[in-house]
């Protein structure tokens, strides 16, 4: 087993999908959380000047989706066939794209622009993406997004929707998207995930 060291800020943000994969796989890793003040000194040594990074026996990986895909593939959480892996990657890409939309709105400094972006994200983008994800679940017909068991696609969708519904419970409707609502509950109830959720640091983001 290689030694894994995940470095990020003290929050869920773009690293939480990786932590969820490690948790579900029950794989040990160093969960390093740095203060913002430490970041400028660390930044030049990272591949793309961003976090999270994952150090694997000395190799440094950047880009949270690439890291997530790697950890998932090493632990049977990527899908079994090339097509399944492609579908999983597609779903992770889409939900992370939505998360980026939310972050863009969240970090917008201009108050008027922020209001417009937030409104668009919740009133247009969210319902559209939810409907599309619901259709994917319906198509796969197993309760999971890909194949017959949990993959990192399910974990990624759970990650973003649990974040969104924590502040806006109405954002996920069991009437409008029953399969999606059920999926979020299913992931929450996975024993290894439930354990992580109960002991992970409680942070604002």
């Amino acid at each position: 087993m290689p030694s894994y060291k995940l470095t990020y800020f003290n929050g869920r943000g773009r690293a939480e999908i990786i932590r969820l994969i490690f948790a579900q796989a029950k794989v040990a890793y160093e969960d390093k959380r740095i203060e913002f003040a430490e970041w400028p000194a660390l930044k030049p040594s990272t591949p793309f000047g961003c976090l999270p990074i994952l150090e694997v026996d000395g190799t440094v990986l950047s880009e949270s989706k690439a890291i997530a895909s790697y950890v998932a593939s090493e632990n049977g959480l990527q899908g079994n066939t090339n097509l399944e892996k492609a579908r999983a990657q597609m779903i992770v890409g889409v939900i992370r794209g939505f998360q980026d939309t939310l972050y863009t709105a969240l970090f917008e400094k201009d108050e008027a622009k922020k209001a417009t972006l937030t409104k668009k994200a919740f009133e247009e983008t969210l319902p559209t993406v939810s409907g599309q994800l619901e259709a994917q679940l319906k198509q796969n017909a197993t309760g999971w997004f890909v194949g017959e068991k949990v993959t990192y696609a399910d974990l990624a969708v759970f990650d973003v929707f649990s974040e969104v519904t924590a502040k806006n419970p109405a954002a996920l409707s069991a009437e409008k998207t029953p399969l999606l609502a059920a999926l979020v509950e299913k992931v929450k109830a996975l024993p290894n995930v439930a354990e992580w959720l109960s002991k992970r640091p409680q942070t604002g983001m």
């Binding site: 591949p47 990986l61 880009e63 090339n82 097509l83 492609a86 890409g93 559209t128 599309q132």
Partner: protein, 225 residues
């Protein structure tokens, strides 16, 4: 015996899936997929839609997330250019041999996306010609150079940057690097040296030349729309 062997060989011959790539009639987000198919001489349907045809297709809900490109593999539809390219790389042997190398390759693919994503979205939204020109100047002068520096440094980590980007054989990452700078140069109507200067990124410049010289790719580049 001959009959048994005949049946054995015909049933064992791997049937290649049918690949159908659908996009607009431009390079854009589908060109890398086309390049990978052409380089490996993998037959595929290269569907190029006009705007009205896309509106019709979009209405059918066939594109899972309402966007192009999509790749149909024996009926299963894959969307998002990253997933499409990763899949094609897997089935055509253009991925690295080890999981860590693959991860480094994927990291690079994501990084290449990050270079352009913000710029492209802003570019197409901006209607004011002057502001648009400013966006382009800012992109070329401020956004691209730091990325090029990081890519060059990453490349040099692999045997000094004198071979392929990851590992010791050509992979989709090499084509992705070529495609990014080639497409940008074409789209912005600027010399590729402006985006990828030889004095700042000699190894990457040499890599792009190495990719362009690959026989089956060179043939495609010569005749592509």
């Amino acid at each position: 015996l001959a009959r048994v062997l005949h049946t054995h060989f015909y049933s064992r011959r791997a049937r290649m899936p049918s690949y159908k790539l659908t996009y607009f009639d431009v390079r854009g987000r589908a060109e890398l997929a086309r390049i990978l198919f052409h380089y490996t001489n993998t037959p595929f349907e290269d569907i190029r839609l006009k705007r009205e045809e896309w509106q019709q297709l979009k209405a059918t809900g066939k594109a899972p997330f309402g966007l192009l490109p999509i790749l149909e593999v024996d009926g299963t539809v894959i969307s998002t250019s990253v997933a499409i390219v990763t899949y094609i790389a897997e089935v055509t042997g253009l991925t690295s041999d080890t999981p860590l190398e693959r991860a480094r390759g994927n990291m690079m693919m994501d990084g290449l996306h990050d270079v352009v994503d913000a710029f492209i979205s802003k570019y197409f939204i901006e209607k004011d010609e002057e502001k648009k020109a400013e966006l382009v100047t800012n992109f070329i002068d401020k956004v691209v150079p730091p990325w090029v520096e990081k890519f060059e440094a990453l490349f040099k980590q692999n045997g000094g940057g004198d071979g392929w980007f990851v590992g010791s054989k050509v992979t989709c990452v090499d084509f992705a690097i070529f495609n990014l700078f080639d497409s940008l140069s074409s789209f912005l109507q600027k010399d590729i040296n402006l985006l990828l200067p030889k004095d700042k990124a000699p190894k990457l410049v040499a890599l792009v030349e190495r990719v362009k010289a690959l026989p089956t790719l060179a043939a495609y580049l010569e005749k592509r729309p």
